[in-house]
Each structure stands twice: as structure tokens, then as C-alpha cells.
């Protein structure tokens, strides 16, 4: 079921550059993993709600206030931008 075109399509969706060799291997690996997984079809899930959380969680709300982060941390994060101009993160033009 997993053919070369599908592997290319998924890789594009995942924004993932793959070499020809990697594509071949992933096509093979995904096929065998999905083969294994097909036994999930035996379970009757009629009327079963999809899982939502492992904890009995409730919606957590907080006041919509800015909690200032330390400037030192901000500076540390900025210093690790791969490309920057002044205090700004720099990216390639989109349009």
C-alpha cells in the first residue's frame, strides 16, 4: 500500500528531505510496521469514545496577563537563533 509516491507525499508534508536510499528503506519499514498494525482492525470500537487524557484533567485557565521572562533568558534564546538581525529572528523571504 505504501508506494514511492506516497512516501514522497508524506515526506513533503513532514518537511523532511530524504535521500533515495532513505526513501526505499522507509517505504519498506513503514510497510512492515503497518502490516503489524492491521490487527487493530480486529477490535470492536463501535460506540467507543476516542481517548482524551490519561489524567482526569480539567481546563486550566489563567489571567490573560503577560508574565515577564528574565531578560537574561530572552538574550540566551536570541543568541542561539541560527540567523538574526539585531534583536530579530531572520528568515528567508516567503513571498
Amino acid at each position: 500500500m505504501i508506494d514511492e509516491a506516497l512516501v514522497k507525499h508524506i515526506a513533503r508534508l513532514a518537511r523532511l528531505d530524504l535521500s533515495d536510499n532513505e526513501r526505499v528503506k522507509i517505504q519498506r519499514d513503514l510497510s512492515s510496521i503497518l502490516d503489524y498494525i492491521t490487527h487493530l482492525n480486529e477490535i470492536d470500537v463501535k460506540g467507543v469514545e476516542p481517548f482524551c487524557s490519561a489524567a482526569s484533567l480539567y481546563s486550566v485557565m489563567r489571567d490573560d496577563d503577560v508574565v515577564p521572562e528574565s531578560l537574561r533568558v530572552i538574550q540566551e534564546i536570541r543568541d542561539q537563533f541560527p540567523h538574526r538581525e539585531g534583536a530579530y529572528l531572520k528568515v528567508k523571504e516567503i513571498l
Binding site: I2, L6, V7, I10, A11, R12, L13, A14, R15, L16, D17, L18, S19, E22, K25, I26, D29, L30, S32, I33, Y36, I37, H39, L40, N41, E42, I43, V45, V48, E49, P50, F51, S53, A54, A55, L57, V60, R62, V73, E76, I77, Q80, F81, P82, H83, L89, V91, K92, E93, I94
Partner: protein, 472 residues
């Protein structure tokens, strides 16, 4: 002074009695690391300056006669997927090879506030994806019990460092068995806490509906001391819970222990089975009531788990795109910066999971794979809810086999995934579980998985501690 294999309480007492200083203890462990690392390779980096500075703070407190928290001066190691301010945090990945943590994870803030001494960062499978630590982009960690074998994974470095006496305790993270399985393979105690029991702020996200930070240590009591220090609600992690103080209050003498038949079936090696059954018999002798139970959807857990974990990982790892942090490949346009940076920065297993997850979430396949897995997960969780109506704890093996040989499974993803078959259902249900060393298959340690009700870590510690004594 013999520093080897002291427990946290022994260290605490010795520091108070001034038998040795925190600095001497830290120097001893840094020395141990220098000696052992050429063989074990449990650490990706060491933090000597930080360790000595922290040790000095403990010594100052002792000199000033101040109150000394239990973990003060105790040397530890941290899985390299948990942020420690100022130290590299690579997640075992090329894409973060030079990434320096800008702040402390909440679990680290809590360890530091007790005065724990951080010796370094431990090796792991890249982004905590794997079962042997062989998927690290940097090095192969070896099992201290047999250097030809893996330490388990993904917290392999954290488990091996304790087994090789390179630290007193460590932090790991567990998504589908990543604390329990290496603890089992290396013969140490490891706890995967209840989902929500420990803040994940500052833990690099793998699969957010499953990830938990937890302690590894030499003894149950040490493990409990570390868990007590890191547990509890954190405003910076909205999935963390206010930790309730209730417990079943059951010891081995009055506990009902469930033994699920599905965990003792095909694939379980006979030596492992014997060791686990012997430990269960010992528990019975100590007064526990043993009850055979069924967790009927267990056989679907592995498939369900790998679909969910890959789906969540494919979304979580979208942030590594060559833009905000990590390595960035030059390319003519933005899209290519993303795909080239990710293509060259991620290793084979990470790519495989991103592809599987993207597939399972993609239009046309979502209902058949992701949604189906989420429904199966509801049934798997319900199995545990039902079982815990009649039992207090569940005992199972941690892994169907002891530590396997380096290279044995690394090229066959399905074979590797099967190592997790007995730990992933517990993760899907979100309940806590501890791996306790209960015997050896030849020279290889075997761990028993002690599973408890949501937030009944104290119950798990109590009966694990009793078993530890009995099995001596």
C-alpha cells in the same frame, strides 16, 4: 573513606556528621566518571564546574549549621533531554549538537533547591525514540553488567551511570518504558510516575499524552526521595497535578496483587518468567493475596502505542526546522531551509517515526489509523480501571527478555519495538509503575514491573521496599 554505593540517607548522615565533605564526594564521583567512561559511555557531557560549585554551597550550609535538605550534596546525572541552564542539551541529536539550555526544567529547579549536585548529562536514543540507546547520534552506551550488551533505552545513560556507580541517582524520562526497561536491564530501580505527577516544563516533548520525568536510583528508598523532591503541580505545566496525599496504605501483608495472564504468554523468555514467578511467590509468602487477572486488550497496546507516539512526535518535532534553534542548512527558500535542516539533522529512527506519524495523521488515513488507535487506547485504559477495582497492585515482567546484544535489533524497527510490549500498556493507561531488580538470568539483571493506581506511588514504594528487603 569508601564512598561506593552509599544511599542518599547514608550520604545525608555522613555529611551532617562531617565524615566527608560534599566537595570530596563530588570529586570522588567526577573521578569515577573519568575512570568508567571509556568503557561505559553513559555521559554525553559532564559539568564539573557546576557540580563543584553546588557541592561548595552544601559545604557552606553545613559550616553555617543551616538546615540541610535530604538531597543536598548528593551527586546525580540528568538525561540529556531535560534542560539544565547553561549546559548543552542535545537530546542525542545532531540537530541540537550545540544547543545550550537557556533555563532550568522545573524538576531541575526542584533538585537544585534541595542542593543536589549535577555531574553531567546522560546519553539517550535520539529524542527519546528507541529501546537500547543505540539511536543516539553520538555514542553507544554499554551495559555495565555486560559490555557487549545494550543498557536499554531510552534512558540508557541514566541507568548505566548508576549501575557503574558514576552517580547516586539520575533523572530519566519515560514515554513507553524508557525508564523502566533500562532500569530492568541495568539492575537499578526506576519509576515512571503517574501521568501528571511531575512537571514536564523543560523536558523536550516527544509524545505529550505519555511523557513523564522520573527517577532512577540504586534503592527503592533513594528513588522515593528523588520522586518526593520533583513531584507536584507546576504553574508552567498545565498537565501537572496537585499531588494528592492519599495512598492505599497497603503493605505486602494485606495487599491484593493482580497477575495479568496476557503478560506471561508467547515471547516471554523462560528464565525471565521463572525469576518473576519466584518474586511473586515471595510476595505471596509475605502475606500478599495473588489473583490472576485479565487485561484483555493488552495485545493491541503495542500497535496502538506506536501509532499514537509517532503521531504526537511528528507534531512535536515540527519545531526543529532550522529557524529558531539548532542546526540550520543554507537553502534558497524557506521551505528548503526546513526540509534540508531536518533531513540532515535527524537520524534514521526519528525520520521513521515522523513519517509514520505524519502518515497516520494525514488526510485519508486519519480515521483508519490515528482515530482507531485513540479508541483502542480508551479500551486499554478501561482494562486497568476495571482491574484496579479488585486489586491494589499489578505485577508483570518489565521486558520479555534481559539486555540484548549491541547491534542485535538496531536495523529492524519492529524487533526493537517488541522490547516495549510489556511497558507501553501502562503508559497508555497513565498509571505509575516501578521496575524493581528481582533476580538475574546468568549475569543479566531482570526487573519486575510493579504497577499501582493513579497517584499511588507511595503504595508502590512501600511494597517495593518490602520486596527489596525480602529478595535482599
Amino acid at each position: 573513606m569508601d564512598f561506593s554505593r552509599l544511599t542518599i540517607k547514608e550520604i545525608h548522615k555522613s555529611l551532617l556528621d562531617r565524615d566527608f565533605s560534599a566537595r570530596e564526594l563530588a570529586m570522588h564521583y567526577l573521578d569515577r566518571i573519568r575512570k568508567e567512561e571509556s568503557e561505559i559511555a553513559a555521559f554525553l557531557s559532564t559539568s564539573e564546574d557546576l557540580a563543584l560549585e553546588q557541592a561548595e554551597q552544601t559545604d557552606k550550609k553545613i559550616a553555617a549549621g543551616e538546615e540541610l535538605p535530604l538531597l543536598s550534596g548528593v551527586p546525580c546525572a540528568i538525561k540529556d533531554v531535560i534542560l539544565v541552564e547553561g549546559l548543552l542539551c542535545t537530546a542525542g541529536s545532531r540537530i541540537l549538537e550545540n544547543y545550550k539550555a537557556p533555563y532550568d526544567a522545573t524538576s531541575i529547579v526542584r533538585l537544585k533547591s534541595q542542593g543536589a549536585v549535577i555531574l553531567g548529562k546522560t546519553n539517550l536514543d535520539e529524542f527519546a525514540m528507541g529501546s537500547s540507546t543505540e539511536h543516539s547520534a553520538f555514542k553507544i552506551t554499554r551495559n555495565p553488567h555486560d559490555l557487549e550488551r545494550v543498557p536499554g533505552g531510552t534512558s540508557g545513560g541514566s541507568a548505566a551511570a548508576i549501575a557503574a556507580d558514576e552517580c547516586v541517582f539520575s533523572l530519566g524520562s519515560d514515554t513507553g518504558g524508557s525508564i523502566r526497561q533500562p532500569a530492568s536491564f541495568c539492575g537499578v530501580v526506576g519509576l515512571k510516575p503517574t501521568y501528571g505527577a511531575v512537571s514536564r516544563y523543560g523536558l523536550m516533548a516527544h509524545a505529550s499524552s505519555l511523557d513523564q520525568i522520573g527517577p532512577l536510583a540504586r534503592t527503592v528508598q533513594d528513588c522515593e526521595a528523588v520522586f518526593d523532591a520533583i513531584k507536584g503541580r507546576d504553574p508552567k505545566d498545565s498537565t501537572s497535578a496537585e499531588y494528592p496525599s492519599s495512598s492505599t496504605g497497603r503493605g505486602l501483608n494485606n495487599a491484593i496483587i493482580g497477575v495479568p495472564k496476557e503478560y506471561f504468554g508467547e515471547g516471554l523468555e523462560s528464565q525471565t518468567r521463572e525469576i518473576i514467578e519466584k518474586a511473586i511467590k515471595k510476595a505471596q509468602k509475605a502475606g500478599a493475596k495473588i489473583k490472576e487477572i485479565s487485561l484483555p486488550h493488552s495485545e493491541y497496546a503495542l500497535s496502538c502505542y506506536y501509532l499514537i507516539v509517532a503521531s504526537e512526535a511528528s507534531a512535536n518535532l515540527a519545531r526543529f526546522d532550522g529557524i529558531k534553534y539548532g542546526s540550520s542548512e543554507p537553502a534558497p527558500d524557506l521551505l528548503e531551509v526546513y526540509s534540508k535542516s531536518r533531513g540532515s539533522g535527524f537520524g534514521a529512527e526519528v525520520k521513521r517515526r515522523i513519517m509514520l506519524g505524519t502518515f497516520a495523521l494525514s488526510s485519508g488515513y486519519y480515521d483508519a489509523y490515528y482515530l482507531k488507535a485513540q479508541k483502542a487506547r480508551t479500551l486499554i485504559k478501561q482494562d486497568f480501571v476495571d482491574a484496579f477495582k479488585t486489586v491494589d497492585f499489578i505485577f508483570t515482567p518489565v521486558s520479555p527478555f534481559p539486555a540484548f546484544k549491541i547491534g542485535e535489533k538496531v536495523d529492524d524497527p519492529l524487533k526493537m519495538y517488541l522490547s516495549d510490549i510489556l511497558t507501553v500498556p501502562i503508559s497508555l493507561a497513565g498509571v505509575p509503575a516501578l521496575s524493581l531488580p528481582v533476580g538475574k538470568d546468568g549475569h543479566l539483571p531482570v526487573g519486575m514491573q510493579i504497577v499501582g493506581k493513579h497517584f499511588d506511588e507511595s503504595g508502590i514504594f512501600q511494597i517495593s521496599g518490602q520486596l527489596e528487603k525480602i529478595l535482599g
